[in-house]
């Protein structure tokens, strides 16, 4: 089993795109069911959600407010899963409920240690 990170990108900033509290509750339920289904296969390694506030640090001591205001896709959170192959990881990631929202995206990347790569 290899580990893969599933990075979830959402529009966290456009006001009209934000869900109502009721919608949010429904989304969270779907999200937990999705992660629960992965955990029930013993393929969940960890994961975290990220706050909207943040800073972006750049070359030459430049610090800006983040995350990435200029694009509508901000990293909302990630989970790390165990899978035998990239294909299997993609199959699991495909069921991520945020993909039901237009413009959202999920990125799957294999985790490699810096020493291995």
């Amino acid at each position: 089993m290899e580990e893969y990170i599933v990075i979830m990108r959402l529009d966290l900033l456009t006001k009209e795109a934000q869900p109502s509290p009721e919608q949010m509750e429904g989304y969270m339920k779907q999200y937990h069911d999705w992660v629960g289904g992965i955990a029930a296969q013993n393929k969940f390694s960890g994961g975290k959600g990220l706050a909207v506030e943040g800073k972006v640090l750049k070359f030459n001591d430049m610090i800006t407010d983040g995350p990435f205001v200029e694009i509508k896709e901000s990293v909302a959170g990630f989970i790390i899963i165990k899978a035998a192959s990239l294909d299997e990881a993609v199959e699991m990631a495909q069921k991520c409920p945020i993909l039901k929202g237009e413009g959202n995206s999920v990125e799957v990347r294999k985790i490699v240690s810096v020493h291995e790569s």
């Binding site: 937990h32 992660v35 955990a39 029930a40 969940f44």
Partner: protein
């Protein structure tokens, strides 16, 4: 003597651990066997004396006094040895010699709690921790421990002996861990109590009285932790709540022949409402503070199960708790139970797809679950799964429950 027979085993359960704990604290863990011997001898003397003279007015006090005198005699002999026979030997700790053995309520309680932390020390294996807890804290006989673990006396004797050796070698002290370490060490203690309870609740041993006794002892140990302010933490309350909720169904889980009765078919009038209420109380106490343990999640699930009638909220609630539980810690049982909740909330088709990904080909509960999910949708497939479950089932009780589903 026949009159006192029920009271002596009862006192043995409740007082043995107190005597061993107090003496052991006094002597140091080095001398745990001496403490055990003195406690056992005390009960032997009680059997004889009470048989002839009748029950003393304060049996527990009588036991303490006898144990105290025996301990004093032992220490006296030790001091003679030390002063007259081994003056050159410097390796005997001087502490124990003259001072009195403190049998105040406070010291008894403190000593038991400290003993609990000592026998759940991470230096020894989980199995040894449970075995020592059963022996020293719950006053179980070696035979009973062997029955509970479905093994023989020699195995248990060896296991306990090695564990005690190890604790001596590691110089484990009989004391509460410092405040900063309490949470980490408490985790070990709680796991031991939890496993002890499960050993009783899910035991394959056919001895029903023994099983119940194991569960009650686990609850008693947990109560001791709650009674001490240093160890009265949210996760401890959550564990006690969990055990209360489970124990409330103890009598409904089995019929007169010792066969398991599945949850859906249990007579809820046999559920113990007193224990359900207690579970609710401890769960509310567990909600203080911000720490969420696996016991909180499991107690929440068990709390929902004390409501027999199905409602969408019930199964949504259970599913959500299993989702969280599995993210913290995977277990095949939780994975199967979660899938059952998926069926209740999202329907059988969705649950079948989830179940088939679980990949538990050696687990008979896995096939039993698939049988359950396919029944009504594809009865032939359901039957095949039930048959596979039957071929993999290990205990008679499980086999019987599956045969009932097959209608044979």
């Amino acid at each position: 003597m026949t009159n006192h027979e029920p009271i002596i085993p009862h006192l043995f359960r409740t007082e043995y651990r107190k005597i061993v704990s107090v003496l052991c604290r006094h002597f140091g863990f080095r001398e745990i066997e001496i403490a055990e011997d003195i406690a056992s001898e005390t009960f032997q003397v009680a059997m004889q004396a009470w048989g002839l003279e009748g029950l003393p007015p304060n049996p527990a006090g009588w036991l303490y006094n006898t144990a105290k005198n025996k301990a004093k005699n032992y220490l006296h002999r030790e001091s003679i040895f030390r002063d007259n026979i081994a003056p050159g030997l410097k390796n005997i700790e001087p502490q124990a010699a003259g001072d009195d053995i403190d049998l105040s309520l406070q010291n008894i309680n403190d000593s038991q709690l400290q003993m609990m932390f000592a026998v759940c020390h991470p230096a020894i294996s989980r199995e040894a921790q449970i075995g020592l807890s059963l022996r020293i804290l719950c006053g179980f006989g070696i035979d009973e421990i062997a029955t509970a673990f479905v093994t023989n006396k020699e195995v248990i004797n060896k296991r306990l002996f090695r564990a005690k050796e190890k604790l001596r070698k590691e110089k484990v002290q009989i004391e509460l861990p410092p405040p900063l370490e309490i949470d980490a060490r408490l985790e070990q203690v709680l796991t031991t109590i939890y496993l002890l309870f499960n050993e009783g609740y899910y035991s394959v041993s056919q001895n029903n009285t023994l099983r119940k006794e194991l569960c009650l002892e686990a609850m008693r140990l947990c109560t001791m932790l709650i009674e001490n302010p240093d160890t009265n933490k949210p996760q401890v309350n959550a564990l006690l709540a969990l055990m209360c909720f489970h124990a409330s169904r103890f009598d409904a889980r089995m019929n007169g022949n010792g066969e398991i009765i599945l949850y859906d078919e249990q007579d809820s009038s046999l559920w113990n409402t007193d224990l359900i209420n207690k579970g609710g109380y401890f769960l509310s106490m567990a909600a203080q503070g911000s720490k969420l343990s696996r016991y909180h999640l499991e107690a929440g699930i068990a709390a929902w199960h004390t409501q027999q009638s199905d409602s969408p909220e019930k199964w949504e609630g259970i599913l959500h708790l299993y989702n969280q539980l599995l993210q913290r810690e995977y277990s095949p049982v939780a994975a199967l139970n979660r899938t059952y909740a998926v069926a209740k909330v999202r329907g059988k088709e969705v649950a079948i797809a989830e179940a088939e990904r679980l990949n538990l080909p050696e687990n008979h509960f896995y096939y039993a679950l698939l049988g359950e999910l396919y029944s009504g949708l594809n009865d032939d497939k359901a039957r095949l799964h039930w048959l596979t479950a039957l071929s993999l089932a290990k205990t008679d009780a499980d086999k019987e429950a599956i045969r009932k589903k097959l209608g044979v």
